[in-house]
């Protein structure tokens, strides 16, 4: 079913709520002089939670498109929309007691957070190349501002500038890829493009051109997901941005990038066949993405080994994780896609958790350097244990949630008989263990001469840390709801 503009609105409540939230935050920011710092976070939280509620209420099961084929409504989008909104809520809560953001006025920050979430919801849904591009730009433009939010901080400004330049070039490359695709198939609708490619009725059908399309569009998606060789912005931007923003960028827009990557390649450039997809002959995009995936995880992990700045190290670690997540997308199987979703889900909690500990430590210590983490265990055992759990989860050590993600991903890869690919992934996980353990070593084993003064953690931050720890510890026991939910979420809308 292809819904028209007005009929679509009933399925569009989450986005409309976010839009209303943005406007309300801006209005309250300029009209409530004394109250705004209290009202704005509450408004933002209310908008995100209400949007989450309506997202879960909306029926995503029936195959239909909204707004004359611009957006696709399917369980795959439902998963990502819920994911983005949960990430938005967690990042909002994490930013409330952050010293970095406390120094500047936060009214715009909340409006931007809602705007970037709105963009990501649209990204997860888009089934049309124009919609895909516009929502990607909405996310990018707001991220640029959020990265440069600390106006008086030179690093933040530099990060924002680098991000804009890289973003402009890679989205430009992506648009060129889209234009080639449009030139060959005469359509911007993903499913019409696929049908034209399948019927081989493309004008000037040419393997080289199609491969060029794959490479160029990968540049755009690779920029959003920080995959090698489009990752150069990532370490500098993550270091310069305020830590809550870094935490947000490392999870939510990355997931949105994967959502459009899957929708573009599996939905647009593949042949659907039940739970499987076959690639259309002449477009060997899985090969391109396998190379990108191997490069991404290897470079991310190796570069992280020598970092002494926590934010930089976690930046490279998040590049490496993008490589693992990509493994699930190239397999063209339902299990692969499901593994990818499971990995993203656990990655949300472990990565936000690790960045949140960094935020909390910066609040009192004003440092991101690894040697300043020495003796953290004696100063705040809770924080050190929490960080260790997040790091062990990122490594993929069994009792924690990260193991579940790695298990599903490697399982799906071996299932397809790509043993060498699984071996590369496992070797990378072993390399990664070194630098994660290094942080733990500094926090727990190494002590400095200073007397261990207890570290102050605000009650809200403590509560949020517990909230992030719970899924990391319990998911391994209660994994069946996640298993069922992700198994349900791999149904991609495949056209009418």
């Amino acid at each position: 079913m292809n819904l028209g503009n007005l009929d679509s609105l009933t399925f569009f409540y989450p986005e409309l709520i976010l839009l209303g939230g943005i406007l309300l935050v801006v209005i309250s920011d300029i009209s409530l002089k004394g109250l705004r710092d209290r009202v704005n976070p509450l408004l933002t939280l209310a908008a995100l939670l209400l949007a989450l509620f309506y997202t879960l209420q909306t029926d995503h099961g029936s195959a239909m498109t909204l707004f004359e084929g611009m957006l696709a409504l399917d369980n795959f989008a439902l998963f990502f929309k819920a994911f983005m909104l949960v990430a938005g809520v967690l990042v909002l809560l994490g930013s409330l007691h952050s010293e970095e953001l406390a120094a500047v006025h936060q009214g715009e920050f909340h409006a931007l957070l809602l705007a970037v979430t709105l963009g990501m919801l649209l990204m997860a849904n888009s089934a049309h190349l124009v919609m895909l591009y516009l929502s990607l730009e909405l996310v990018s433009l707001t991220s640029y501002i959020m990265v440069g939010y600390l106006r008086s901080d030179r690093l933040s400004n530099e990060a924002s500038m680098k991000y804009i330049l890289f973003g402009a070039v890679s989205t430009g490359a992506m648009l060129y890829g889209f234009s080639l695709l449009y030139g060959m198939t005469g359509s911007l609708d993903l499913f019409a493009i696929r049908d034209a490619l399948l019927a081989q009725e493309v004008v000037g059908f040419n393997q080289v051109t199609l491969m060029l399309v794959v490479v160029l569009t990968t540049a755009g998606f690779g920029f959003k997901t920080a995959a090698v060789p489009f990752h150069f912005w990532c370490p500098d931007v993550y270091t310069g941005a305020p830590t809550p923003v870094t935490a947000f960028l490392s999870v939510a827009p990355k997931a949105a990038g994967f959502a459009i990557l899957v929708r573009f390649f599996l939905g647009g450039l593949s042949q659907p066949a039940g739970e499987q997809w076959g690639f259309i002959s002449g477009i060997d995009w899985p090969l391109v993405l396998i190379v990108v995936s191997v490069l991404t995880m290897s470079l991310g992990n190796i570069a992280a080994l020598t970092q002494n700045n926590l934010k930089r190290m976690l930046a490279y670690s998040s590049i490496a994780h993008a490589g693992y997540i990509l493994m699930g997308a190239v397999l063209l199987t339902g299990t692969g896609l499901k593994a990818m979703l499971v990995y993203l889900f656990v990655y949300l909690f472990m990565n936000l958790g690790a960045f949140f500990v960094v935020t909390v430590i910066f609040n009192s210590e004003k440092t991101f350097e690894l040697q300043d983490y020495n003796g953290m265990f004696r100063r705040s055992p809770f924080l050190a244990v929490a960080m260790s759990i997040f790091l062990l989860s990122l490594i993929g050590i069994p009792p924690f949630a990260g193991f579940l993600g790695k298990l599903y991903i490697f399982g799906a890869v071996i299932d397809q008989g790509l043993y060498w690919f699984a071996v590369v992934g496992a070797l990378n996980a072993a390399v990664a263990a070194f630098y994660y353990m290094r942080i733990m070593k500094h926090m727990i084993l190494e002590n400095d001469d200073r007397p261990p003064t207890p570290l102050q953690i605000s009650p809200l931050n403590r509560a949020l840390l517990v909230l992030l720890l719970v899924p990391n510890i319990l998911l391994i026991v209660f994994w069946s709801p996640i298993d069922r939910w992700t198994a349900n979420s791999i149904t991609l809308f495949g056209g009418l």
């Binding site: 007005l6 801006v26 009209s31 004008v203």
Partner: protein, 125 residues
């Protein structure tokens, strides 16, 4: 098919030639007599004072952005106005919502003191 795109190639080539051939011919036939006046940059007939490489006030940029709000508004309202009679009340309400969103943007700029050339200091955050 390929021949259609050959037109583009030819167009590119002719375009490049058009520039360079004309410049070449001009440099061959023009008299070359330099004087002091000819070497200064043309600035609407005025003699330029100082270097043009100065920092512009960032407020020009802010004003350009505010201008864009109204520019986009017109760009979207023009097609809306053309089909307005056929669409009726729904289009009218949609148009009002669109304008209201832009008004919020204008109100924001106004409240932040960005409509004044010298921004009031107490509002500076």
């Amino acid at each position: 098919m390929t021949l259609q795109f050959a037109n583009v190639l030819v167009f590119l080539g002719v375009g490049a030639l058009f520039i360079f051939v004309n410049l070449l011919i001009a440099s061959l036939i023009r008299p070359s007599k330099y004087s002091e006046e000819k070497l200064i940059p043309y600035e609407c007939g005025e003699n330029p004072v100082g270097s043009p490489w100065i920092k512009f006030n960032i407020r020009f940029y802010v004003f350009a952005l505010i201008f864009i709000i109204f520019d986009v508004e017109v760009a979207f309202l023009l097609p809306w106005a053309v089909v307005f009679k056929e669409l009726g009340w729904i289009a009218f309400i949609e148009g009002l919502i669109f304008i209201a969103i832009l008004v919020v943007g204008l109100a924001y700029v106004w409240a932040k003191g960005d409509l004044q050339w010298v921004r009031p200091e107490e509002r500076y955050e």
